[in-house]
Amino acid sequence: MRMEKGGRLIGLVMQTVVVGGIIYLGYLLFHNTQANLEARNIASGFGFFSVEAGFPISNALLPYSPADTYGYAFFIGTLNTLYVAFFGIIATTFIGIFIGVARVSTNWLIAKLAEIYVETLRNIPLLLILFFTYGVVLAGLPGPRSSLNPFSGFFINNRGLYLPKPLFQNDFVFVLLALVFGLIIAFVVSRWSVIYRDKTGIVIPSGWIGLGVIIGLPAVTYFAMSSPLSWEIAVLKGFNFQGGIVFRPEFSALMIGLVLYTAAFIGENVRSGIQSVDVGQLDAAKSFGVSKGTIMRRVVLPQAFRVIIPATTNDYTSLVKNSSLAVAIGYPDMVSVGGTIIGQNDQAIEIIGLWMAVYLAINLIISAIMNWVNSKAQLVER
């Protein structure tokens, strides 16, 4: 809106008034808060970080004991949030893509089942799914003594999911090096095959070659080094299992709920992305005799991604924010641990401020990464 001269003066006055009002409000808030904190004997500042925590944390990724500080406890909680966010996003992407592709399948039954999945999960609250998974499904598993044993070394019971723990010997480092080497080779091959195709028209299956190298090189190295890997299997001692890797029900319920719920939304994004491509283009591409795979990769997906990526960014940040529901089923994420700390020392302002800072930082990182992915999607067709 363009403004006339008189309007500009009014605008300036108005903004000054607003700023003044905000400053005054801020002062009032500050003053009240000081008074209230004093009256209730609540400390200020982050000094509490070095105070001994005194409460246990199950499911800690790093060693933790109640003798550690509040600061360390909060750090453990934050680590858990990041852990759930990272693997949650990866898992939900795979499942979401699967659901989205199923939704547009020519197989009526598969498409219908995917539709039922999406319509069911999108219309019920995530917290309900978490309570149900934790309180009914996982709690309904048999006790340790009658665990489910689907594969050797795998045990499922109401105390958790037990997997064999890999014990890496020294020579395993070579297998890792082979993996890194394989990734580099796969990358180089894929780049070079594009140039080769441009020059000669011959298509090299760089995807398969890359996959083969990434899996094959480490595998060969593994056997060449006479299998530098042994396993620690969980063993039932008394009432419980000891050893192995264990995923506790709190973690499992949170992951299952988050991943399945978010996948419904991502599936819808994928579906609407694929369907946004006009069917006439498929007709045109088919009419040239272009193979189905090439049509998908070169005509449908580049256009679908334009729609899918921004919407999915939203869903990723939602998953991270929803991970805070962990507090309701007892998984010690950042909110859960922070809530415990608030319960003990009432320093809500500091803790809540930390929460906000961490979530905003995670969001920024996810947005930045997705913006980069989005720009790559534009480059693909040039």
């Binding site: 000669t200 283009q281 045109a284 090439t294």
Partner: protein
């Protein structure tokens, strides 16, 4: 317009159903090399369905379709091979909006004929010059007018050096002032001896270049004749009714 004795497309007793609706009835048709065939008829008569059966965009339940000596079966390799020899131009152009004009033209030669990019681009430029749209090579379809897009679509079909080009109402979606520029290109192609099968309402075009006009109604071929006889001496009352409505 040199018409050889060789038959390019042959349809024998072709029948097609959509569910239980009998949409193509006992279609028998032979298109010779170098011919320009125009198919006309009221809407819903099955004209588009017929030509879409030729390159298997629609599947026929009964009968045989033979293109350049190869019979059309359900085998995917066979279908793709036939499709690479049959070009198609659509009513709604169907250019790939995320690719430039040049990339639209080089797409099929690169991915189907496996040509090196440089060679594909040479062919593309040649055809862009032919339809007089070379200056738009680096633009995107969304930046072009309807008439320009359709000319690009024709050039795109030509890049595969097809033995036959199918036209599915190529000018029906164009504003009147752009119809001429597209028809001019099509007339040129016909004069060069390219085998063409056109579904169209443009009777002036038909009179100028068509070797034969086929009139379809209710899923079957009613009348098939040379333009002069078709317009002046229709054999069936149905044909006359149709002509009186469109002329």
């Amino acid at each position: 317009m040199m018409v050889s004795k060789d038959i390019m497309i042959q349809m024998i007793d072709v029948n097609k159903w959509y569910g239980n609706f009998h949409v193509l009835k006992e279609i028998n048709l032979a298109v010779h090399k170098g011919e320009c065939i125009v198919i006309c008829g009221p809407s819903g008569s099955g004209k588009s369905t017929l030509i879409r059966c030729i390159n298997h965009l629609e599947y026929h339940q009964e009968g045989q379709i033979i293109v350049d000596g190869t019979k059309l079966t359900k085998n995917l390799k066979n279908i793709e091979k036939i499709r690479s020899e049959v070009g198609m131009v659509f009513q709604s152009f169907n250019l790939f909006p995320h690719l430039t004009i040049l990339q639209n033209l080089t797409f099929a030669p690169i991915w189907v004929r496996r040509l090196p990019r440089a060679e594909a681009e040479k062919i593309a430029i040649k055809h862009l010059k032919r339809v007089q749209i070379l200056e738009q090579a680096d633009k995107f379809p969304g930046q072009l007018s309807g008439g320009q897009q359709q000319r690009v679509a024709i050039a795109r079909a030509l890049c595969m050096n097809p033995k036959v080009i199918l036209f599915d109402e190529p000018t029906s979606a164009l504003d009147p002032e752009m119809v001429k520029e597209v028809l001019d290109v099509m007339v040129e192609l016909a004069n060069e001896g390219i085998t063409m099968v056109c579904v169209t309402h443009e009777m002036g075009f038909a009179k100028t270049v068509a070797n034969r006009i086929i009139f379809m109604d209710g899923g079957e071929i009613v009348e098939e004749n040379e333009p002069n006889d078709f317009f002046n001496n229709p054999r069936w009352d149905r044909t006359q009714l149709f002509l009186s409505q469109i002329l």
